[in-house]
């Protein structure tokens, strides 16, 4: 059975070029980047080259790039690190209701530690109103953290507009750019952000590695203590092969972004059009315009998400849902709930996320088998009345 992977927002296959770049650092160049001898120097050179590469791509200087274990750690460092380092100034943080759990759970932890958090709402398109941010900011606010592109629906937030508000009040602004990297241009100067998180495995790089941009002068406390790695912001021997892989992956994905986006937009549009023609009562979540081009989040009225995932999986097709059952919680997706989507519809949401390896014929195949799957599940649903 042919396998079709349409879950690139969960993770991506690593590119062979990335693996090739990494291999020497597992083998002959295995040194510890903190060692003074030749082995250490080889690793150090690779580490700093990777840092320069990432800095250049993001529009930062290399002393502002710090490597982590992934997007989650970058987000934890941005939120908890600045909250703790600036708690004498204030104990209030502003974020949104649609953030990744790495941000939301960090904020919940901070609430237990005596911080206050405001979770900004979004409209039905998934967008934050800059005015809501202006109104949420207080004298004791120290951080605003808003994601660049949402992992579930793909909506892109107006970061420049939002960061402007925070910066005017001299408040740190962080953005989780894990899903944005490689799909929309990222320039930390243009975005005017103080911190920005990226991850390796969402951009055809290795898992277990990420980076965070921290603007010079930002007061931040480390989460892990130990040696003076990463300018004392993140103790622990650097994962040199993974870091080399992350830099290579970022370089490649940004280099081909324009062409890839055309390809992905074609796939998404063709897929959506085909489904709208062949299946009644399809609901698109979010906005068709303000989205990363690879992501489509749809509900098929009257059908629960997991039953579609299982049905597609039996035919070799991998998709995801924001639905309760797969994520291990009972509630429907917090993102769709925040967008005001009816719970029964939200429980049916399916996220299709295409990638550079997705071909038009894959998309056509999936669009071809979906009507029968949806029809079968609807025929056993008490929530769907036959329309003939």
């Amino acid at each position: 059975m042919k396998k079709i992977y349409l879950d690139h927002n969960a993770t991506t296959p690593m590119r062979p070029e990335v693996l090739d770049a990494m291999l020497p650092y597992f083998k002959e160049k295995f040194g510890n980047a903190s060692s003074i001898h030749g082995f250490g120097r080889d690793a150090k050179v690779a580490l700093e080259e990777a840092r320069e590469k990432v800095a250049e791509i993001l529009g930062a200087s290399s002393s502002e790039i710090f490597f982590t274990s992934g997007g989650t750690e970058s987000d934890n460092l941005a939120t908890k690190g600045t909250a703790f380092a600036n708690r004498k100034k204030g104990r209030h943080i502003v974020t949104s209701k649609i953030e990744h759990h790495a941000i939301l759970e960090s904020c919940k932890f901070l609430e237990k530690e005596g911080f206050e958090v405001t979770y900004l709402p979004v409209n039905f398109r998934g967008l934050i109103d800059p005015e809501d941010l202006s109104n949420a900011i207080r004298d004791d606010t120290t951080l605003v953290s808003i994601m660049y592109a949402n992992n579930e629906v793909g909506i892109i937030q107006p970061i420049e507009q939002l960061s402007k508000i925070a910066k005017k009040m001299k408040i740190y602004f962080h953005t989780d750019a894990v899903q944005a990297a490689g799909k929309i241009p990222i320039d930390v100067q243009k975005l005017n952000v103080d911190m920005l998180s990226v991850s390796g495995h969402k951009i055809y790089g290795p898992k277990g590695v990420g980076a965070i941009y921290i603007r010079k002068g930002v007061r931040i406390a480390p989460l892990s203590h130990g040696g003076h790695h990463e300018r004392s912001r993140r103790a622990g021997t650097e994962n040199v092969p993974a870091i080399v892989g992350l830099a290579k992956a970022l370089e490649l994905v940004v280099g081909e972004m324009e062409n890839q986006n055309k390809h992905l937009r074609n796939l998404t549009e063709a897929f959506y059009k085909k489904l709208m023609e062949s299946i009644p009562d399809v609901v698109l979540h979010g906005d068709l315009d303000r989205r990363i081009p690879n992501t489509l989040n749809l509900s098929f009225k009257g059908v629960e998400g997991e039953s579609i995932i299982l049905s597609l999986d039996m035919k070799g097709v991998a998709v995801a849902s924001g639905s309760a059952c797969t994520s291990g919680t009972l509630e429907p997706s917090h993102v769709l709930s925040a967008m005001g989507v009816d719970p029964a519809i939200a429980q049916g949401a399916i996220r299709f996320s295409f990638g550079r390896d997705t071909a038009m014929q894959d998309v056509e195949y999936v669009a071809g088998i979906l009507p029968e799957i949806v029809q079968r599940l609807r025929s056993m649903s008490p929530l769907y009345a036959k329309k003939e």
Binding site: G302, V303, E304, G305, E306, S307, L310, M314, S323, A324, C325, G328, L330, E331, P332, D342, P343, A344, Q347, S379, M380, S381, P382, L383, Y384
Partner: protein, 127 residues
């Protein structure tokens, strides 16, 4: 994550549909939880002679619905009442822990359908 039996019932669910002149109907679940089930029974001489279901829900919800209709057919009401959530889960070779609570609604729907049947029978007697 699911047993082969759950997947088999998910792929080929038994007794899907509604019974128009059902003697008892049990509806359980809510959309926030993600699973909604309607179970229809036909009763003759104290025995369940037919059962059908309609379910909106995940693989486990559909499989447990299908299994419960199989388990109750031909049983007396007393026997059917003894069918519990655990009975259904065991008959399917187990369910993942997270599904035991939220998606294992079929036994609840069955008990509601039996109650509904009894209520209707009492009303008939009164007439």
């Amino acid at each position: 994550m699911y047993s082969a039996k759950v997947m088999e019932h998910f792929q080929n669910p038994r007794n899907v549909g509604e019974i128009e002149d059902a003697d008892g109907v049990g509806k359980v679940g809510n959309p926030v939880c993600g699973d909604i089930m309607a179970l229809y029974i036909k009763v003759k001489d104290g025995r369940i002679i037919d059962a059908k279901f309609k379910t909106f829900g995940c693989g486990a919800a559909i499989a447990t619905s299908s299994m419960v209709t199989e388990l109750v057919k031909g049983r007396t009401l007393e026997e059917a009442k003894r069918i519990s959530r655990d009975t259904v889960a065991e008959a399917l070779d187990g369910l993942p822990p997270i599904k035991m609570h939220c998606s294992n609604l079929a036994a609840d729907a069955l008990h509601k359908a039996i109650e509904d049947y009894k209520k209707r029978a009492r009303l008939k007697d009164q007439k």
